[in-house]
Amino acid sequence: MNSPLDQIPSGLRFRRRVLVGLVTATLAVPGLALMADLHWRAGFDGWKVAHLVLFAILLGLVAFGCTQALVGFVARRGRGDRWRLGGVTSPEMLPPGATAVVMPVYNEDARRVFAGLRVIYESIRATGHLDAFHFYVLSDSTDTNRWVDEEAAWAALVREFDAASRLFYRRRRINTNKKAGNIADFCRRWGGAYRYMIVLDADSLMSGATIVQLVRLMERSPRTGLIQTIPRLIRGETPFARWQQFASRLYGPVFQAGLDYWQLDESNYWGHNAIVRLAPFIEHCSLPELPGFEPFGGRILSHDYVEAALLVRAGWGVRLAVGLDGSYEECPATLIDFAKRDRRWLQGNLQHSWLLAAQGLRPASRLHLLLGILAYGASPLWFAFLLLSTLLLHRQLATGLTLVPRDSLLDFLNLDFRVQAGVLFGGTMALLFVPKLLALLDLALVRGAKEFGGWMRTLGGAFVETLASALIAPVLMFFHSKFIFWTLLGRGVAWVTQRRGGDGTPDWREAILTHAGQTAFALLWGGAALALDPVFFLWLSPVLVGPVFSIPLSLITAQPPRPGAPPRLWATPEALHPPAVAALLEQRLSNRSNRAPVPPEFIADYGLLQAVLDPYVNAVHVSLLREKRLPDDDDGDRFAELRERLTTEGPAALATRDKLTLLLDAQSMIRLHREVWSRPAGSLAPWWQHAMEQYNQLAPAPTTALDD
């Protein structure tokens, strides 16, 4: 009997991939034949060839998705796929100090980052295997407020756990190569000291038991270079976030099982919530620069897919731990935040075009790269397909002739022209909806809907989710098409600065300015379609409703929940019964939300304020700066002028770069602490005087009638 940890036979890989290819072809070819025949009957021309090519790509993608769900559904039946990677129950000890848990952060909320890390630390400690792990927060933060917050939060955690030899914080001065460079810097400095590295994101959460399981799986499988867990989405509060959570939790299992079925040990890396074997990673995964210049060339932005491809190329297994729970992450709270994240990911994925034909990569890795490109590239293709459909209709109507279809090439089907179009539409819709039905059937067969709050809520949630998807998908199509257009022109996308209300309510201005173009375009398109043919307008309208109403849609789905009223729609098992780590994280965050808010006048430079004024934050900050080897009486005081301006005029008088310069200089920070505290009020900026009052708040005398 084979174990999932054994070497995967190459014949098995081949057979499974042939099967998936055949099923995909079986699902796609009839639709393609019907579409080609429709064009044939109406008269082929160059435009229709282009239309057919676009349809073939889009239908192929839909069919491949449906195939994965079908295969996954079947693989989950009975005792499941015997090659599926799950947990290991043996109680052997872990190699001491052999695993580094690393969390790269970049201008993230330090409160959330360290609350998550604390929970992970406590959860590992509860397993009794704390000695096997070291923890690193790898900061690339450039925002001085975030940076100082991170240092203080880390020091507090070290103090609480007495973990100065176990819990480390390193901030890079120069963020070479962004996140990939951050991890690579860790590997170069400390990678040799560890056997494994567990990579987390700033919003990751993993249970100690899962982390221990990952190390055990790696210990048992010496040819595995990387194991990726499947993070479940948690802590979503807005309707948009809960919608994503619900959809990924309900439909995810069949898709994931299907994905794992064909990729086996040539899986992919998603950049976090994964364990990496460090020696092969260091040897094979240092990324080269791509030819050309940004946005397409230069440094590789989406490093994870490429690192997985390089590991697989070098003969190491990359696995997806489908059977392992206890891995979580958060999702964007609003449609606009989601689009902003897509904008970043999209550019990285488009860069992968260079690698599609790279020599030595395994076919599975090429497919991962291609699917990553098409995850965004499909949007402009869909957009072009719809525009071309409108154009074809215009060209037909412009002739002034009634369409008289010629005989079908598929005459054995004996279909009327309109019926054939209807069958094609129905078939395409079936490919889209069958995976959802399979997921619901899988739920019924495996555990039932109780964990989702019962069948009524599950079916209701799935129905509303389908409507929401139909509305939001075209909005994302517009977003992605715009992003790709601007990326091809080598330009960035400007975003409106968000101004969320104090209670978390969404920003009207941001929504209006972000979606106004989509609304206007959809209205114009709809008007043109209506003018051409009312029937065509009806066909097109499902695509246009979402963009036309994108502003209210964006605002409604970004609403925070009402206090004391837990939302009933789109409940997930994790929302109804939070796992221990998620509950603990929530508790930690709510405990700390009682802190007094920072006065508005200090928000912009609160990090600098703390690092200069607070004796303890100053000490922590200074202790992490490199000491220059200079004689006591001459410290090469190059920054005296900057310090003087900061002291006498306040932080507003300095550019961000100058503040950063001072924050990076230990002597300056020691001197500033002393100088600001010891200057008489007359030679100190009012900002500092006001800031010092925070440490000596005397309540004003109560007002009485005598004061009138």
């Binding site: 020599q359 202790s623 010891s678």
Partner: protein, 192 residues
């Protein structure tokens, strides 16, 4: 403000600048998380009185400056006594001591020990001497050599074209014009 040698032990209550100095010292001690009003008051008074005496010799110095210098001296002396041979007598001693206080959680666990007239408890001394922060264990530097990836002939050709068009505006124009013409022709064919 100048002080005669026969001046009293404490500045006059009406001296605004010495009141400011008193309040600044008080704030600074609070910033160290000394919370007991009696302790703050007593320490502040002692520090301000010392600064007042010093002002006889440095009349040009502002009272706030003298008082905070005295506060710094008192605090640094305390750190030197507690940290003993573990302290490096440099300009960083103050920062080192404050870090040790913070990591030992002195304000939380021994709220009355810092700057108290009696020697600090042994546990606090030990905890402060053992306190340190570091960004990581001693590094063992490794080389990570970027992997050569041969991107294939199509990518090489595109790269060549890319570089050529980027370097020369004339070549760029030669590429852009046919593209624009093609787009125009496409639109003409679509709507003719």
């Amino acid at each position: 403000m100048s002080v005669r040698p026969s001046a009293p032990d404490f500045p006059p209550r009406t001296a605004e600048d010495w009141n400011d100095a008193f309040q600044r010292v008080e704030s600074y001690l609070r910033a160290h998380r000394i919370v007991r009003p009696l302790a703050i008051s007593e320490l502040t008074k002692t520090i301000v009185a010392a600064a007042w005496r010093q002002s006889m010799f440095e009349p040009e110095q502002a009272p706030v400056t003298l008082a905070l210098r005295e506060a710094d001296r008192v605090i640094t002396d305390w750190f030197a006594r507690v940290l003993g041979q573990h302290a490096t007598h440099s300009r960083r001693l103050g920062a080192r001591g404050r870090l040790a206080l913070a990591l030992a959680d002195a304000p939380g666990r021994w709220p009355d020990a810092f700057l108290a007239p009696v020697p600090p408890p042994r546990e606090l001394t030990d905890a402060m001497r053992a306190a340190f922060l570091r960004p990581g264990p001693p590094p063992q530097l490794f080389k990570m050599t970027p992997q050569a990836i041969s991107l294939g002939p199509i990518a090489r050709l595109v790269d060549f074209g890319w570089r050529a068009t980027r370097r020369s505006p004339a070549v760029r124009l030669l590429v852009q014009l046919p593209l624009l013409a093609g787009l125009g022709a496409l639109l003409f064919l679509a709507f003719r």
